[in-house]
Symmetry: C3
Subunit: 208 residues, 3 copies
């Protein structure tokens, strides 16, 4: 009888984890492509598929947020997490698409390293998000956050190194235009991962 007064059981943690899973899948597809040395049309299609699935989960989260007053953690944190994790997958999809558009046929060592750093970072995001459900292993969560932060710094360095080499060795301005954008976008993925873990850390502080 009073059921209607009880909050519906919205599964925010499950949905956030699902988003993180898709981000990990996108990072794995990206890494494999750069290790292989090129972005095939088939791989890009797979990436876009993952991106669409991630979009659906994002919409579910935002929709459920709008339908309930009661959330397990601050609603603006859920909103921000959903948006940022969507951005991770989106950005990986954008880079993959640019690689096709620019007909990048040979991937350089910097992008291969970015592939690994990004995968590690997104795995850190997944770990931090999984910890939110019960906040029992605060140490594990914090360790993941620190790691994502470290990887963002590593990515900054990598991008700077890559740009220095690009401007020193590449004489074709059109190639510079293409690679500059790809390196900068790769680094942006790591910035977004850090945004996610910053939100997670803030949730930890508020629930301490």
């Amino acid at each position: 009888m009073f059921d209607r007064f009880l909050p519906k059981e919205y599964n925010f943690f499950g949905l956030l984890e699902k988003q993180a899973d898709y981000a990990v899948e996108a990072a794995k597809i990206f890494k494999e492509a750069v290790v292989t040395g090129s972005m095939s049309e088939e791989t890009l299609n797979k990436m876009q598929e993952v991106e669409h699935q991630g979009d659906d989960v994002t919409h579910s989260i935002l929709d459920q947020l709008d339908k309930t007053f009661i959330t397990p953690i601050d609603r603006e944190d859920i909103h921000a997490l959903a948006k940022e994790m969507d951005d991770i997958t989106d950005m990986l999809c954008t880079i993959s698409s640019r690689m096709r558009i620019y007909k990048i046929s040979k991937v350089d060592k910097h992008l291969v390293e970015f592939g690994s750093i990004i995968e590690e970072s997104v795995l850190g995001v997944l770990c931090a998000i999984k910890g939110l459900r019960d906040l029992k292993n605060v140490k594990t969560i914090l360790k993941a956050c620190v790691e994502v932060n470290r990887l963002e710094n590593a990515g900054d360095k990598k991008r700077d190194e890559a740009l220095v080499e690009l401007f020193e060795t590449e004489k074709d301005p059109i190639a510079i235009i293409k690679w500059k954008e790809i390196y900068q976008e790769a680094e942006t993925v790591l910035d977004i991962c850090e945004d996610v873990t910053n939100i997670v850390e803030s949730i930890l502080v508020k629930n301490a």
Copy 2:
């Protein structure tokens, strides 16, 4: 006597509609310019005039938000709508200004198509915003939102097509720099339109 306890009559809906009207005006000016084939100084001046008028409305909305506790829809939604709609007009003004700075004297078919897609999308935004006032025609609002979403996807495709052709056919790197920026900014207008309708959809869900 109790007047002072009553909320002042702030006309948020009217102001938001005015912003949408200015965005439509900017989109029409932009479309006409690209159809004509170039951005004259006179046209740019008209665009900047509209942009300033839009700015004034944005400031009015934000100012009134700060002065009242009572809003007809969530205050953060009004804030976000005002900011995003301001961004539509701003971005159209930026592209127009860049066309002058880059001395773009001949507009290509891709930008002409962007002109049409953008106009349609901003008209969709206007329709969705107008529906907010009484939420009576939810179907009409939702139809506009779906349309704006469709146009954003169309814009993504258009930008990718335009970039592929640009990098395949243009051999002058300086021309690539100019056009790459213009195409990407044109697509950004459609992203912002979609941001507006996402907020409108969220308002619908919360008021369902």
Copy 3:
């Protein structure tokens, strides 16, 4: 005995002023470098040092926000101010780093002027932030906000002028890529300063 119920004394105003101080320091380092004509490694190191110190203050503010319910001004305003002021210092550090990466060995008159405009604008930000503590000198605060707004417009004009000259006179596309980015980022610093003073103005209205 009731101490535990009293809000801890968090020093939000002091921390925000400290952030503004670091932004001023970054602006002064930047201006000196462009006046000197180049960004030495030593100067970049000094800039990065300031950026790290600014980061620490930002983290302190966000952390204290998460730990308290009671704030002297709206918590979302403190949050936004902290983020925007962090962005000022970050962006100045990014431009400085790019100047090294791009081996910019001779600074042009436009960047020198940007150096002055940015310094003036960040000093306006500091003045506005300092006024928040007691809101006694609303006129002084508003004057600073108007000035920061004026400088943002001046920066827009400067960037457009610089781009026109760049595309008219520079024939090396790689030099265009570098300088275009630097001018646009320099203008972005002024945008962020204006974002700060917009928040300050909004705080004034809410506390009027």
